[in-house]
């Protein structure tokens, strides 16, 4: 492999210790990143499969689907026909035969596809990248310490996540197929195999998420401990960069929220395997399907903020750095995140407005949910304020930061429609929700992730990512993303239900055929555009332009460390003299003043 002359470490570590079972937070962060990117392609591939079905219901998939002649007359024309012929002739029940005979997606398979798409994207892509990758890579570097508080737990956290992914992957190949009850796994559908025909798939889904829960717990304890105890001298809480604040808050949310999901999953497994009835109601008694929803969403709403807060943190870094200005209202940015984290615990009922809750409860949850729009608005205004009278550089990371803000605005505004109970009656469980989710999670979190990768890549690998490719990828993604997801608002307004495999079965949805085709074509473009990112990533790792130590002229501590960052991060632990966003300070020659740069005139000090 590489020679590492920069490493100050004396002993040579074995390949396995260094790259596989590494205790180094940076390596673990990169491992999480690669893990998340791989899963991103799995999740995206599943989405493209079901998008095909939505645009061209019950027609064979391109390339792997059988030809029309074969379907009509059994005449073998294409290579795919030959494959299907072979599959049908063999005595074995082949996986393809049951899930998509002749390349046509069955309704059962369709349900499995969107269930696994969402499960993977939420639990195996966005959280591992935001929290696992950025959390690990950034926390010790940005607070100025040598590693996480518990490196072994840290490694455990990654390998538990790998185990969870393996268990999840096995689910695709068990008889009965994978889980097909939605990523929300509503009981009783999920609680009894008789309703879906899914046997071990759903069990493995639950077990895998339990393992993923342990991984998150271990990680979050580590983050919290590290941030509280190991900050560099002078790094007070209110001198921490916003991305560290966001990860700190998220770690607390994870610690408190995941056990709720874990207990729900455990009860679900009991229901499925031990004959209990926690989540099914029978005339003889038993539990209550709504119990699942309460537990799931009591976890689920904090979870969606887990998906966005680090994105907000990353975007804040990008916007401040590339506007060359302090964050507008740094403290109110912090308090807004804390407010979101608190309010996040008392809004879960907004996912259950139509579940039959008392109307008084609906009023309560509408009020709290609308209130949570306030800190979101505050953050948006502060991002704008940060750009105000700045000196904005349109680098690739900044483009992503700007996209984050604008897409998050759309996602936040669409949230108000659904928070409004009367309007939610109509748009609940329609594509309106699907549009909302994707504007916040794809438009928000993923753009922040892309921006963050390009921004910190030089620190991770000592090289820049290719700028032209990054920008091409950005614009393609931005346009294709909006073409894919904006029309879904319109579908929602038209009443188009989510989670249906064939809209053509409904008279009132006939008008949307063209729009569904358009969405699918955009989605394929969006999917293929991501190949550029991956190519750029791996190409730049070896061939990118070599980066200097602090290529973007950033104040925060990670850029004080040499590049590539050695084991132990810093030669000498830096001392922090000021907040993270001292850009364009009047009287300074440079437009940046690193946190670790000693005061030249002690008299002006005093933060």
């Amino acid at each position: 492999m590489h020679d590492n002359e920069h490493t100050e470490h004396h002993h040579e570590e074995s390949f396995i210790r260094k790259y596989i079972f590494s205790l180094d937070h940076k390596t673990i962060g990169k491992q999480f990143l690669i893990y998340g990117l791989i899963m991103f392609f799995v999740g995206g591939g599943l989405a493209l499969l079901f998008r095909w079905q939505l645009a061209y219901p019950d027609q064979p998939l391109p390339i792997i689907g059988a030809s029309q002649q074969y379907l009509d007359e059994g005449e073998v024309v294409t290579g795919a026909d030959r494959m299907w012929e072979r599959i049908y002739e063999s005595d074995k029940e082949e996986w393809l035969e049951t899930s998509m005979p002749s390349g046509v997606i069955t309704p059962e398979f369709y349900n499995m596809l969107f269930t696994m798409h969402a499960t993977i994207m939420v639990f195996f892509v966005v959280v591992p990248i935001l929290v696992g990758a950025f959390g690990n890579f950034l926390i010790p570097l940005m607070i100025g310490t040598r590693d996480m508080a518990f490196p072994i737990l840290n490694m455990l956290s990654f390998w538990l996540a790998v185990l969870a992914a393996i268990v999840m992957a096995i689910g695709f190949f068990v008889p009965g197929g994978h889980a097909a009850a939605g990523w929300t796994g509503y009981a009783p559908l999920s609680a009894d195999p008789q309703w879906t025909g899914v046997e071990w798939g759903q069990n493995l889904w639950a077990i895998s998420l339990l393992i993923q829960g342990f991984s998150s717990l271990v990680g979050s304890i580590n983050y919290i401990t590290t941030i509280i105890n190991m900050r560099a001298p002078g790094m007070t809480f209110f001198r921490m960069p916003l991305v560290i604040w966001s990860l700190f808050i998220v770690a607390i949310l994870l610690l408190l929220a995941f056990p709720v999901l874990s207990s729900a999953l455990a009860l679900l497994i009991f229901d499925r395997l031990a004959g209990t009835t926690f989540f099914s109601a029978t005339a003889e008694g038993g539990g209550d399907p709504l119990l699942w929803q309460h537990l799931f969403w009591f976890f689920g709403h904090p979870e969606v903020y887990i998906l966005i807060l680090p994105g907000m943190g990353i975007a804040s870094e990008l916007i401040a750095v590339f506007s060359r200005k302090p964050i507008f209202g740094y403290r109110s940015m912090v308090w807004a995140m804390i407010a979101i984290a608190f309010l996040g615990w008392i809004v879960w009922g907004h996912h259950m407005f139509q579940s039959g809750m008392r109307s008084e409860m609906g009023n309560f949850f509408m009020t709290t949910t609308m209130l949570i729009a306030v800190p979101s608005a505050i953050k948006t205004f502060n991002w704008l304020g940060t750009m105000f009278r700045g000196s904005i550089r349109f680098t690739a990371p900044m483009l992503h930061g700007i996209a984050f803000v604008s897409m998050f605005v759309i996602g936040g505004l669409s949230g108000i429609y659904m928070a409004n109970t009367p309007v939610d009656i109509f748009i609940h469980d329609t594509y309106y929700i699907v549009a909302h989710i994707h504007y916040v999670v794809f438009g928000g979190s993923l753009f922040a992730i892309f921006g963050g990768i390009i921004f910190w890549f030089p620190k991770m690998y000592g090289r820049y990512m290719n700028d032209a490719l990054s920008k091409i990828h950005f614009w393609l993604t931005f346009i294709a993303f909006n073409c894919t997801f904006f029309p879904m608002h319109i579908l929602g307004v038209g009443g188009h239900m989510r989670r249906i495999s064939n809209p053509q079965q409904y008279e009132f949805l006939q008008v949307f055929e063209g729009m569904n085709i358009f969405i699918t074509m955009s989605a394929f473009t969006l999917g293929f555009a991501q190949l550029i990112l991956v190519f750029n990533y791996f190409w730049s790792m070896y061939k990118g332009k070599v980066a200097e130590q602090n290529p973007w002229q950033v104040n925060t501590l990670e850029w004080e460390a040499p590049t590539p960052v050695p084991h132990g991060n810093f030669g000498q632990i830096p001392t922090v003299y000021r907040g993270p966003y001292e850009y364009s300070v009047p009287g300074e020659e440079e437009d940046w003043t690193p946190q670790a740069q000693p005061e030249h005139a002690p008299a002006t000090g005093g933060d």
């Binding site: 109601a281 302090p326 507008f328 579940s355 509408m366 505050i378 349109f394 605005v409 108000i416 429609y417």
Partner: protein, 286 residues
């Protein structure tokens, strides 16, 4: 964008649509303001050689202003929404003495409708069970006892602006009242989208007899009608007026309920009083 909303035909639907419109304009204005500001900033404050950014750390006044303003806006919005929501979903506020009471039960993958019959009691001999067909008289107050037999389903009638999950072992009451007009119409646009189903046509040619049938298909200029056992295609230009007898709306299931979720579909047939009386007479002959 809101022209994509399906036609509203319920009394409370107008309230929902009004809120929808109010939020629509609110969000459009906010969106334009925020995006406009962003774009102006991006252009005006782009990096220029020799120009440094201004060192601005924030503004407490502004923070207070936008916190207070957004809080006030969301509270005002909430205040307008409570009554609408209660009106639709709070059983204590339902109109009393319904004209029709029906039990609707979701089961993989059908809607089972049970009418209590003339004695108004469920579980007696004169109950009537129908699969996927719900019949009600126009503009009547309808109460539905919603339940499910297996998993959770969701009763959704887009044109009523009504959606309610149906849960096993639980009865949830919902209500609606249509607001329809059975006067003959001369405007024949988008009849199917408006729910017109069984109709009586008065041909333009005064010598031709009235045609009664159900609309199967509609194009811009023609109607395909099922009359008795046969299908007739009639040019809209040859029709003088059209009187509705039954409007028909789809009742999709809106909650994932298994592999047959897509296509789980019932129909709400809203009859004119005359047509409803005939339907009742046919089911429970006196």
């Amino acid at each position: 964008m809101l022209q994509w909303l399906p036609e509203n035909v319920s009394t409370f639907g107008q309230g929902v649509d009004n809120l929808f419109h109010a939020i629509y304009w609110l969000t459009v204005v906010v969106f334009i303001l925020v995006m406009g500001t962003l774009i102006v900033f991006l252009i005006k404050y782009r990096h220029q050689e020799g120009k440094k950014a201004d060192y601005i750390e924030g503004s407490t006044t502004l923070e207070i202003v936008w916190t207070v303003v957004t809080t006030v806006i969301v509270f005002v919005l909430a205040m307008f929404s409570y009554p609408q929501w209660n009106n639709i979903k709070s059983p204590t506020q339902f109109p009393e003495n319904p004209d029709v009471v029906v039990q609707v039960s979701g089961k993989q993958f059908n809607w089972d409708m049970t009418y209590p019959g003339p004695d108004n009691e469920f579980g007696t001999d004169d109950d009537l069970e129908l699969e996927n067909e719900l019949h009600v008289p126009m503009n009547a107050v309808v109460h539905i006892r919603l339940t499910a037999e297996d998993v959770i389903h969701s009763f959704f009638v887009p044109q009523l602006r009504l959606k309610q999950d149906a849960l096993p072992n639980r009865f949830i009451n919902v209500w609606f009242q249509t607001e329809l007009d059975d006067k003959p119409i001369q405007n024949f646009e988008r009849l199917k989208a408006k729910g017109y189903f069984a109709v009586t046509l008065t041909p333009a040619d005064a010598n031709t007899p009235l045609i009664s049938g159900t609309i199967l298909k509609e194009t811009e200029d023609t109607l395909e009608l099922e009359v008795g056992d046969e299908t007739q295609t009639i040019s809209k230009a040859n029709v003088k007026q059209l009187a509705p007898k039954v409007w028909r709306y789809e009742i999709p299931c809106a909650e994932l309920c298994g592999f047959g979720h897509s296509g789980m579909l019932g129909y709400l047939n809203v009859h004119t009083q005359e047509s409803y009386d005939a339907w009742v007479q046919e089911r429970w002959p006196q």
